[in-house]
């Protein structure tokens, strides 16, 4: 005798503690097993691409901060890279090193936030989050010293960075880099072999290698599925070819691998920081001279970087005037979410939340 069941639709709505923003999922459940999931996006759409057409190139930089608001230096960097490709501007040496240092510290901060909230979705009651935020607090203090703000920095300019770094910054970074591996070891002690974390995330939400490549995933999601793809080594931008670091890859592509890849990437970022601090020139210019109402030559350019979430790209079409003709943003997390339906079918409600948390979305980037 079989019990007759009927699937029902549950709305994990825009306001929910675990959707990392305003994101809506219409889930069809059969008991506790997920049958189908439909994401609904657009709750944070601000029209950045359209607004950008009415503002000059320098005025667009604060808007790019607000895309992936948890790692705003890397967004600035991608935009400036696209503009420098378009107008063929050479960035001075010291500015390149400053940009690399900021990008790597930003990567550490973004991954701390991502891993912390992944564990929070598992139910660990904010304890790992608060430990990781202690490090993030240190990072935000250092950035406040340089740019004056703690979250949305607006620091990079076309042709370099906006101001030179103050004297206390480099000793602070050196101390941070010296202490960070010890705190990373502490997180591993708390989490890496925790039986409950293993049992809940190993083998859950597998993204196979072929699917990951065919949907165009990038970032830690792609690397966790076993593909060794990192733009910093395959197609180096800025001065990344001077640094020596490894690319951690996962084996299976489950949630545990995505968590593990992010923890290892933080260690590699610390390695890059040590090398950059050693090689940085003492003095130099920090910005190429670019006029305030900048008119680049007509044409188009696509600048892309390895942001903490994946392959972030900016496509700029210019018609020779002071404002861009078209600005298009290629968000990595929007492409990563297209795999959500395949990853989630057959798992339970609790797994749906963790799989979504392990992709690490920021709604500002998806909705723009």
């Amino acid at each position: 005798m079989s019990i007759q069941t009927e699937p029902f639709i549950l709305n994990i709505g825009p306001q929910h503690p675990s959707t990392h923003g305003v994101f809506r999922l219409r889930v069809t459940l059969d008991g506790e097993v997920v049958v189908n999931v439909e994401p609904v996006i657009g709750y944070l759409h601000r029209g950045i691409e359209k607004l950008a057409e009415g503002r000059t190139y320098t005025q667009n930089i604060p808007f790019t901060d607000r895309l992936d608001y948890l790692s705003s230096m890397t967004n600035n960097l991608a935009y400036c890279l696209a503009m420098e490709k378009l107008a063929d501007i050479k960035v001075p040496e010291r500015a390149e090193y400053i940009r690399v240092i900021f990008s790597e510290i930003m990567r550490i901060s973004s991954h701390l936030m991502a891993v912390g909230f992944f564990i929070n979705d598992l139910g660990a009651m904010m304890t790992p989050v608060l430990y990781m935020w202690r490090e993030r607090e240190k990072i935000m203090d250092m950035f406040e010293m340089v740019s004056g703000q703690r979250l949305l920095y607006n620091f990079m300019r076309i042709g370099g960075v906006s101001q030179d770094i103050p004297g206390e910054f480099l000793p602070a970074v050196k101390k941070f880099v010296a202490e960070m591996p010890k705190y990373l070891d502490e997180y591993d002690q708390l989490l890496a072999k925790n039986e409950i974390l293993l049992v809940r995330s190993k083998g859950v939400g597998i993204l196979p290698k072929e699917t990951a490549i065919s949907i165009g995933a990038s970032g830690p999601v792609l690397r966790a599925s076993g593909v060794k793809w990192d733009i910093r080594q395959l197609d180096p931008y800025s001065i990344y070819e001077r640094f020596d670091f490894a690319i951690p890859t996962g084996e299976v592509g489950d949630c545990y691998d995505r968590y593990w890849v992010r923890m290892q990437e933080m260690r590699q970022s610390v390695r890059i920081l040590e090398q950059a601090l050693a090689q940085m020139p003492e003095k130099g210019e920090v910005c190429a001279s670019v006029p305030q109402f900048f008119r680049p030559p007509r044409g188009e350019a696509y600048g892309y970087i390895e942001a903490p979430k994946g392959n972030l790209g900016f496509y700029i079409v210019s018609d020779g005037s002071i404002a861009p003709y078209r600005l298009h943003i290629y968000p990595p997390t929007l492409i990563n979410i297209t795999a959500l339906q395949d990853m989630v079918k057959g798992w339970k409600v609790a797994d749906l939340i963790i799989i979504f948390g392990s992709i690490d979305v920021v709604l500002g980037e998806i909705d723009r």
């Binding site: 503690p17 139910g123 039986e195 049992v199 809940r200 609790a350 939340i353």
Partner: protein, 370 residues
């Protein structure tokens, strides 16, 4: 030994009629128990919030009163002042009764917990069975609350709750039987008196099984998927506000206090201890047990519902049965004067069994080879 209440009643019979000498101490005893429970629950709320804060490298609440000791009272006042919202299509009668059914049995458990030497409301000779029976009534209340709310989130939570609570009753009861075998009686006072060596040392496996089962019965981390904040946003009490929510909230800490009291009585030798007066020892022990519970809440993520069930049925239940068999054999063979032999044997068995059972932990839902 007779309880304090019996002595009080005997003394009153001297100069009052029979019925008055019976009723008045009973009512006085009930009032003392309720006052004790409410005071310690308020202390627990404060202690948990400060302790969670210190585990998370922050101070807990420290604004309301010196070091925040009036914070639970402020919380209680806030909850009471809130509007009592009942959803339109909810089943009104069941929605109303459910908090009562959850809260009252918890208060009733305290009738048989000995707080100090002889300070117990009634020394039932089936004390521990009474506790098991009464604590099972709250499960119905939780299910009623989740069904009557007319909300899909609370429905999911209700289904999980039946599965979880029912399946964790078995290991709990079986480990209690192990204690009863060594102590020789069901009555709580006699169990405390039989503990010259605390039973936690004599039956470590029984303690572990009972503690994990009790955590699941209390819906606390790592088994708190009934009110998983990050998935189903407060589970079965999602549609409650005001005084009804206060009953759920107090009930949660009340059941933590009840199980802390039971663990102290069964495994930690109750109010016995050198030096300080017995009631101080009892308080120290329940606070220590509660600290352990909060410590687990601060550190561990939660389990999924099917993993929880497999942990209960495949992990805890066989261990509870094996514990019972081992203890039964030992009680038969070892004379009462050499109880410390049990201590060594049981620790060895516990270590071996836990190591063997860890082989059962399959990862990936059994579907993937990892």
């Amino acid at each position: 030994m007779t309880t304090l209440l019996d002595q009080f009643q005997l003394w009153l019979k001297g100069f009052w009629p029979e019925w008055a000498a019976y009723i008045v101490p009973a009512i006085a005893g009930i009032l003392v128990i309720i006052a004790f429970v409410l005071t310690i629950v308020i202390f627990y709320i404060w202690w948990e919030r400060r302790l969670l804060g210190r585990f998370q490298i922050r101070t807990g609440p420290n604004r309301c009163g010196p070091e925040g000791i009036f914070q639970p009272i402020a919380t209680a006042v806030k909850i009471l002042l809130k509007e009592d919202i009942v959803p339109d299509k909810a089943d009104k009668l069941i929605h109303f009764i459910a908090p009562i059914i959850v809260f009252v049995p918890i208060l009733m458990i305290f009738a048989v917990i000995p707080i100090s030497e002889g300070a117990i409301l009634v020394d039932l000779n089936v004390g521990i069975i009474y506790v098991v029976a009464i604590s099972s009534i709250s499960i119905i209340g939780i299910f009623m609350a989740s069904w009557a709310s007319n909300n899909k989130y609370s429905l999911i939570s209700g289904m999980r709750s039946i599965a979880q609570m029912v399946s964790y009753e078995l290991p709990v009861v079986l480990s209690i039987v192990g204690v009863v075998l060594v102590a020789g009686s069901f009555s709580m006072l006699k169990i405390v008196e039989a503990q010259t060596i605390p039973f936690i040392l004599l039956q470590p496996l029984g303690f572990i099984v009972f503690f994990l089962g009790a955590l699941a019965e209390m819906n606390r981390s790592p088994f708190d998927l009934l009110e998983a904040d990050s998935e189903i946003v407060a589970g079965y009490h999602i549609e409650y506000s005001g005084m009804k929510f206060a009953m759920f909230y107090l009930g949660e800490y009340g059941v933590a206090l009840a199980y802390a009291g039971i663990i102290t009585t069964l495994f930690l030798s109750g109010w016995q201890g050198p030096g300080l007066p017995p009631i101080i020892w009892f308080l120290i022990k329940i606070i220590a047990v509660f600290t352990l519970i909060v410590w687990m809440r601060a550190t561990l993520p939660r389990l999924r519902v099917d993993q929880l069930m497999s942990f209960a049925w495949k992990g805890l239940l066989p261990m509870a049965v094996l514990n019972l068999v081992i203890v039964a054999v030992e009680v038969l063979l070892i004379p009462a004067s050499m109880q410390w032999v049990m201590f060594i044997l049981n620790f060895a068995f516990a270590a071996v069994l836990i190591l063997l059972w860890s082989k059962l932990f399959t990862l990936g839902g059994g579907r993937v080879e990892v």
